[in-house]
Amino acid sequence: MKLSKIIIALAFIGYIIFSVSSCKPSQFITAKSGAQLWGENCVRCHNIPSPNIYSDQQWELAVSHMRLRGNLTKEESDKITEFLQAAN
């Protein structure tokens, strides 16, 4: 039982190391728009509020806060901020 747990844990860690070392963001991922990333990421935890609830400056702060809380990547948070600032 203990051995199987260790094997599962090692396999999981190994997969993650493989993922990190062998893959850079695919073109499919980098081509995603801010609107798409906004729809995909924010709804994971909560409803999506209207972009017009905040000003451009406020969205910068709100998305920075979300980058920290929701572990968004830098590229995701930049694109989402740009989208919200254009759509508010």
């Binding site: 850079k24 995909e40 909560h46 400056q57 702060l61």
Partner: protein
């Protein structure tokens, strides 16, 4: 004839002088007007500059709620049990620096310590909110943040413990789809909520999948050895921010999102504290380990005309065995002077919610159906032994994206309670 010329010259002179004099007078008035306008312009610029935003920026946000509680087994036990206001401030003085704070200002009606509201859940533990009509103010977090690079963020201060996902992401009442927190989670509960220390974290894209991580060093938990409160002997307290020994706790979480649209996240997290007992006491070498697994999956379905959200978390807290002193009453009854127990606590929950957000009718779009099963068990044979399993059914109506009226019925082994909550994020 000569007089005629003189007259004509005089006439021309007068005719020329008068307009010149008038022009000179007009020019003077124009100059005065220009000066006046310049002065007004300077005043306007001063006013504009007074309100000109600097490089630093500030956001005031947060959430609030009011919860009504009806004990289904005791009709007399009905009350507005909890009111909370949790302002969040975010200040960003430069591109790389940020400060985030959250304050909890809460009033509890009592019954079960902090059972509703902003993650102040947790049967089986006493907390400061569990007294009748207590109002308290608590610093949820005060976190200084430095965005080091694209892949790493450094934080220092009091931060939400990155153990599992409920604590960090789902605790605000406008996000949590039910009025209560799962067993074991929330302020005053056996699992950590906020830690004082330093942390590094970040997220990175790896092919189509994503990874995120958090690693922190904190004061860690403190063992209640029974000297102060014999009824809590063997429990660990995470909300105690005074460090009782030199050892620091190491913790963290690793999250993996294997699907390109980030709909699935699997996480493992834990905290290890080598020493949780008071330095110099017989409990100094007692350690604790917390291991947590979490999963969340979001299905955005056109055929089901809505969104299905699945979340779950399993937590196991293990504290090294130790001998605790029996109280005099137990000794008088014939118990031995010291007792021990397997100091392991287990908490888990699974939640499913469905919101028909793609329905053609607005009223239907705003409805959400929720079900959660949660379980909590603290060590058998301890003085704070507790076990409960609950099924909670919820029906929410979303007034806006960040405001909901939530009706929930919780059927548990210990109590059956109906809740009505209005949660508002702002």
């Amino acid at each position: 004839m000569k007089n005629k010329y003189i007259f004509l010259v005089a006439m021309f002179a007068v005719a020329g002088f008068v307009p010149l004099a008038v022009l000179a007078q007009d020019q003077s008035e124009v100059n005065k007007e220009i000066e006046k306008l310049k002065e007004e312009n300077r005043e306007q610029n001063k006013k504009i500059n007074a309100n000109k935003p600097g490089k630093s920026s500030f956001l005031f946000t947060g959430f609030s709620n009011l919860t009504y509680h009806q004990n289904l087994e005791d009709t007399d036990d009905s009350k507005f049990a909890h009111a909370g206001f949790s302002p969040i401030t975010i200040w960003r003085p430069s591109e790389r620096l940020m400060l985030e704070t959250e304050l909890h200002i809460e009033m509890e009606g009592g019954v079960h310590g902090g059972e509703a509201g902003d993650g102040h859940g947790g049967h089986g533990s006493e907390n400061e909110a569990g007294h009748e009509g207590t109002t308290f103010i608590d610093l949820g977090y005060a976190n200084m943040v430095y965005f080091l690079n694209d892949y790493m963020i450094i934080t220092a201060g009091k931060f939400l413990t990155p153990i599992g996902t409920f604590n960090e992401r789902f605790h605000p009442s406008w996000i949590n789809p039910l009025p209560t927190s799962p067993l074991g989670m929330g302020h005053g509960s056996p699992l950590p909520v906020a830690e004082l220390g330093i942390q590094i974290r970040g997220g990175l894209q790896t092919g189509i999948s994503k990874l995120n991580y958090a690693l922190y060093l904190s004061n860690g938990p403190v063992l209640e050895d029974g000297q102060g409160d014999p009824e809590r002997a063997g429990s660990v307290v995470y909300s105690n921010f005074s460090d009782n020994n030199k050892n620091k706790a190491l913790g963290g979480r690793l999250g993996w999102l294997p699907i390109h649209n980030s709909s699935l996240e699997i996480g493992i997290s834990g905290q290890w504290a080598k020493n949780v007992g008071d330095e110099g006491s017989v409990y100094e070498k007692v350690g604790s380990q917390l291991v947590v697994g979490d999963i969340s999956y979001l299905i955005n379905s056109t055929s089901l005309k809505g969104v299905i959200r699945l979340t779950g978390q399993y937590s196991k807290l293990m504290v090294d065995d130790a001998l605790y002193k029996s109280d005099s009453t137990d000794i008088a009854k014939g118990d031995s002077e010291f007792y021990t127990f397997d100091n392991t606590s287990t908490f888990y929950y699974g939640l499913i919610s469905y919101r028909p957000s793609k329905s053609g009718k607005k009223f239907i779009r705003n409805i959400e159906f929720v079900y959660r099963y949660d379980f909590g068990q603290t060590p058998a044979d301890s003085k704070w032994e507790f076990e409960d399993a609950r099924s909670t059914f919820g029906l929410n109506y979303w007034i806006q994206a960040r405001s909901a009226i939530k009706l929930a019925v919780s059927i548990g082994e210990l109590s059956n309670i109906m809740y009505l909550q209005w949660a508002l994020g702002f």
